[in-house]
Amino acid sequence: MESPKNGDMPEDVILEILLRLPVKTLLQFKCVCKQWYSLIGSSSFVNQHFRHLSNQERLLIRHYRPDKERYAFALYVDEIFSGYEEPDHLQMPVTVAALMGPLNGVFCVVSLSGQMALLNPAMRQFKPLPLIHANVQPYLSSYDNLLGFGLDPLSGDYKLVSIQYFWNEEMDAPHYPSIVSVYNSGSDSWRHFEDADLVNSSRCAYRSLCNTYLNGVYYWLTEFNDTDVAILAFDMSSEKFREIQVPDCIKSKEGDLTLYRDSIALLSCDLDKIEKRVDVWVMEKGCWNKISTIGPFEDIRWPLGLWKDNEFFLDFHIPSADAVVGFVDHLARLLQYNGRCPRRSWDEILRATVEICHSNMQLTFDLILIEAE
């Protein structure tokens, strides 16, 4: 019997094999033939490959390179504090001020100059977005820009919502209302509108600990009338805002929104107490439940986020090390901290900013790396 020919190999079998190859190999195998090129480039293949079990665990890390005096980005194949492999360095064409995401492996990048782009680090694709051109009166100046990155679940397009708060220079007062701009990757353009009810200068919205987008909706924690707290939600399909109330027991505490599994979560902590505890509230079916309290800690500065299923990222203050970031599990055992960072890439004591994006999580924090020897 002859060896099986290409014609004998059904496309679904080829697909099963290609789904198990790394991105780099797939980009090379686009050259095999036109059929493989269209298969590998198809959006259904891209989605299946991303969701495939063996292809998910990656970390996007930002760190400072003192030798080159700039920040470097790298995509790691394993967890940050163990099992280091030679990082896959990314050439970022702009100086990055903020990273949002990832959603299906894609990040939204905001540069220091305000330029925005979509980044797919595994494919090394960097797609600049058109500039926001809203008709703004010359006496208005933008003093804050709140962003939310999400997907339109109906079309599958990436969407970015930008809320710009303006200052009226003539009257020396905040301008009312704000301008909302929505970018749609399908049309590669922005749509602008004003929202006076929920988005205005009397309502202060906070950036979340991670990209708090879930099932077609982006969420921000907001404060208004000095003391009132509510969640502002933006529907990525209908492009409408709505308000979600929070229970009183949350209102009295300071907190930050984040994601926990498939829910919106609020991490709150009373920093005035000596023994600090972090409460984890989760919104399920419109109700808030306190699912966990970790601590007490004496030296925590602020909770930074959640790691995997039941681990927390905390910003500690330890006098001997100035600042330490550690992982803590739900029993508050310190699992790992930055004393175990790789020495191959950073072989001296240096100050670095590390940005970690894992699944739906993104954290930004300052980190002191200490070389053991």
């Binding site: 019997m1 060896s3 099986p4 020919k5 290409n6 004998d8 190999m9 059904p10 679904d12 079998v13 099963e16 094999i17 290609l18 789904l19 198990r20 190859l21 790394p22 991105v23 780099k24 190999t25 980009l27 090379q28 195998f29 686009k30 050259c31 095999v32 033939c33 036109k34 493989w36 090129y37 090394r124």
Partner: protein
């Protein structure tokens, strides 16, 4: 000639079916093993005939698939043992053998074996040249040299630092 698999005497008491390869050899297989293949299960549901003829699977490949099915139908084996059997099953096998196997799993619709073989094939292909892939899958290069160079240029980074194998 009827060849029984290793567990023949034990499973003989249960219902069995005979599967004939394209070379004409016949294999006695317990029904519990056969029905792990979605295609065989459908055939058995539709007709009483206990002889199934597979016109596009050769002796050697069919024997391997049946060994796999019999192991996975064995209730006495733990999932861990079955997993290590799977690893052992594909390790060291030539790419050519894996190609026949993956085609057989597609015909017989044995999903979990298809995944195991596809993974093994992907592991082998990971560090191979495009030319090697074309040869192994007997694929005609339908690009002009200019078109191929253009694709390489677009994702130049993917080609930069690797030692690719041609054998």
């Amino acid at each position: 000639m009827v060849t029984t698999d290793e567990k023949g005497p034990l499973t003989a008491k249960k219902k069995s079916v005979i599967i004939r390869s394209c070379d004409g050899d016949e294999f006695l297989v317990s029904e519990s093993a056969a029905v792990l293949s979605t295609s065989l299960k459908k055939i058995l549901e539709e007709k009483e005939d206990r002889l199934i003829h597979l016109s596009d699977i050769d002796n050697k490949t069919l024997a391997m698939v049946i060994a796999y099915l019999s192991t996975h139908a064995d209730d006495g084996l733990s999932d861990d043992l079955k997993r290590s059997f799977d690893q052992e099953f594909v390790s060291g096998k030539e790419f050519d053998v894996l190609k026949y196997l993956v085609l057989a799993t597609d015909t017989l619709q044995v999903t979990c074996l298809c995944y195991t073989v596809a993974k093994k094939m992907a592991d082998i292909m990971k560090n191979k040249l495009v030319e090697w892939v074309r040869r192994e899958f007997d694929i005609q290069n339908d690009y002009t040299p200019e078109a191929e160079a253009e694709i390489r240029r677009l994702d130049a980074w993917a080609w930069d630092d690797r030692q690719l194998e041609d054998d």
